[in-house]
Symmetry: C2
Subunit: 209 residues, 2 copies
DNA sequence: TAGATTGTTAATCGATTAACAATC
DNA sequence: TAGATTGTTAATCGATTAACAATC
């Protein structure tokens, strides 16, 4: 792993895409894959894939390609998915519910281990095997369960407030689904999963009527 | 509107962000806003904002800034949100449900007008005021209701199949929430709303433990 | 008029792609 | 050995930012 070189966000975001397809190949018992194969399937330039991977080490074999199992292991290490990462979710609506359903899919790396919501009709109910806690317990549970990532699935007007509480509780990163920009201290990382942007920008590409 | 110049996707994706904040300003009865103000609030470079807008026309006034109401109108035109755009959704799970709840939020521009799911326990149930149809009715309803955008909220293994049916039914664009890459003919536009990429890439930025 | 702010050009920065020696 | 494919450098392409004349 060549440290010192700053890896761009564009590169980091392609790693999960590689990982997902590699897992698929592995399940089909494919041993080896070339950047050519990957590029074809993922709509990416093979040179870009090789360059992305080369930031982190020499994972391939000239003339052969990449060993699928080995590359999976390496990308999991790079993304820190070789350790369990606990996640808390605030907002037990339909979206929050949907995300909890992914727990199975994530295997044992990245796991939603606590759900919060302040609405009286939600507190105490169960989502899968997790009970919904009131926000007053956020700080305590984040500490006790060593939760490192917070997911926000509340309506936009409440998102900043929830973010503040996550910051105070000590999470290291936030994934915000609310369609609004939240401000946090520099040492935290925030990603936005804002589908309204995807949907509205899609409209731009429709044919003129 | 200077046509001929190809507008990059990065520019197009910022337009909904501008629009959202402008709507907020408008609701607070703010008359005018500068690229400076916008940049501060949206974490963007003011020069970039001016350049983005200038691709489409001269919307501002030197020394003053942009008229909020006027700019809202213009961006809505650019994004084609000044006409109603009907949307179909396939996959009546929690995620599909969550998206249907946004209908109110979208006012009358972009509207989910039909929901589909092939699971017997779903067909015929109601989501808000929409009844869930079987997939066999997709083509007919897309035509009858002039649906132009398809949203996919089914599990990954079914996503490509649903996409094919959308293509056949004649939608112009697809928003795919399934964590897999779908292939469609070139004349269609596909956007991916894949939160697993956001979540996994977030892990990369956690502190080494 | 003086201050503010646009629209736009030029400069910079960064990301993608092509090309190819090295080598399995 | 011949063919395939990597890792990496150099070339290209595109996006962001700085700077500033124009002007409200």
């Amino acid at each position: 792993m060549k440290s010192s070189v700053k890896i761009s966000d564009a590169v980091v975001r392609r790693l999960p895409v590689y990982l997902r397809f590699l897992n698929e190949l592995n399940m089909r018992n494919v041993q080896t894959v070339s950047s050519q194969d990957l590029g074809l399937k993922l709509d990416l330039n093979p040179a870009q894939i090789r360059k992305d991977l080369a930031y982190f080490g020499e994972f391939g074999k000239k003339g052969i390609g990449y060993d699928v199992k080995y590359l999976i292991e390496k990308i999991r290490q790079i993304l820190k998915l070789d350790q369990q990462i606990n996640v808390a979710l605030v907002g037990a609506g339909n979206l929050g519910h949907a995300l909890c359903n992914y727990n199975a899919y994530f295997k044992d790396n990245m796991k939603i281990t606590a759900v919060f919501d302040n609405h009286p009709s939600k507190v105490g109910t169960m989502i899968n095997n997790l009970s919904v806690h009131p926000m007053s317990e956020l700080a305590r549970i984040v500490q006790e369960e060593q939760i490192r990532i917070g997911i926000i699935t509340v309506p936009a007007p409440e998102a900043q407030h929830v973010a503040n509480q996550f910051v105070e509780a000590g999470v290291e990163a936030i994934l915000n689904f609310a369609p609004t920009i939240i401000k946090v201290p520099n040492e935290l990382r925030v990603h936005h999963a804002d589908f309204t942007i995807e949907l509205f920008s899609l409209a731009y590409y429709l044919e003129e009527k």
